[in-house]
Amino acid sequence: MTESHEKRHSNAVMTAWQFTQEVPHGQDLGMQVVSVNGGEVCMRLMPQSWMIADDGAKEICTGVLYSLADSASGLAVFAEARELTPIATLDLRMDYFRSATTERALLAVAACRYLTDEIAFIHCNIFPEGDKQPVAAGSATFMRNTRGQRFQTTLGQKREA
């Protein structure tokens, strides 16, 4: 791989990272990208009292975990592919092993299991921060190279396909 390829690839990941940080729904929930190491993505969310699943309970609505897994999985496609071609979620399945509570931040760790030019298969675990046992796990299938604009961030320059 030439040096210019390396640079372009890392730019692609950085743009996808920036894009993920700018997603309005991600900002609403307070999601942040913690790291992208190779193909492995880590995102963090600090639960808030308005994310609770039932008045008087401490458990977080599973829909919040779902959003976190979906975001981390999408970024994991770009981390693995190192290209900014548009993607679309075909499906996402979540297993909720136990309840997540407001006491600790949630970390989503997502990585690609298999990548082709057309499809990406992603797996994602969600952990309470500091815990080795996941509270939930998801697997998602993404279509790659869908029709649509390439990513651009409000900070970055427009990229032509």
Binding site: V23, W50, D54, C61, D70
Partner: protein, 155 residues
């Protein structure tokens, strides 16, 4: 609509399939309040309305709603539907959900209806369909498996 037995049921009609009952259940869920979910009803049944707001956007270039927003709408709708069937005091717990995205979700109102596929003694399987402009044009569908609340010590 069938007649209510008013003398035995003061207050809102709390029977399954009634939008006042669904609305009562939705209002007990803080995250459902944050999303602004509302129960709606016509002669064909009851469904949940997710009003559009900018904070639901997942792709600001299309623009399209975040897949996780549809996930939350589907899961909460399934929970309400399973709760209505089971009539427990506390909500059922979601075990898993499997959601297929059929079309891009546009920046507009979204609706979700539920059908209880199987009601068991301990679990409930609920199918949820989402649409926007036209009810027959689905944008997402999901299946949610729930564990029903049981009294303490009961298995």
């Amino acid at each position: 609509m069938s007649q209510r037995i008013d003398s035995l049921q003061p207050g809102p009609d709390l029977r399954e399939g009634n939008n006042e009952y669904w609305q009562t259940l939705l209002e007990r869920i803080p995250y459902a309040r944050h999303l602004g979910l509302q129960a709606q009803q016509d002669s064909s049944g009851v469904w949940v309305h997710l009003p559009y707001q900018k904070s639901l956007i997942g792709n600001f270039m299309l623009p399209a709603l975040h897949g996780g927003v549809l996930g939350a709408l589907i899961e909460i709708t399934a929970r309400i539907a399973a709760h209505g069937k089971g009539a427990q005091a506390s909500y059922p717990r979601i075990l898993d959900s499997n959601i297929n995205y059929l079309r891009s979700a546009q920046a507009r109102s979204t609706f979700a209806s539920a059908e209880v596929v199987r009601q068991g003694r301990r679990t409930s399987l609920v199918q949820v369909n989402c649409w926007q402009r036209e009810r027959s044009v689905l944008i997402a569908s999901g299946r949610v498996q729930l564990l029903l609340a049981t009294t303490a010590g009961n298995q």
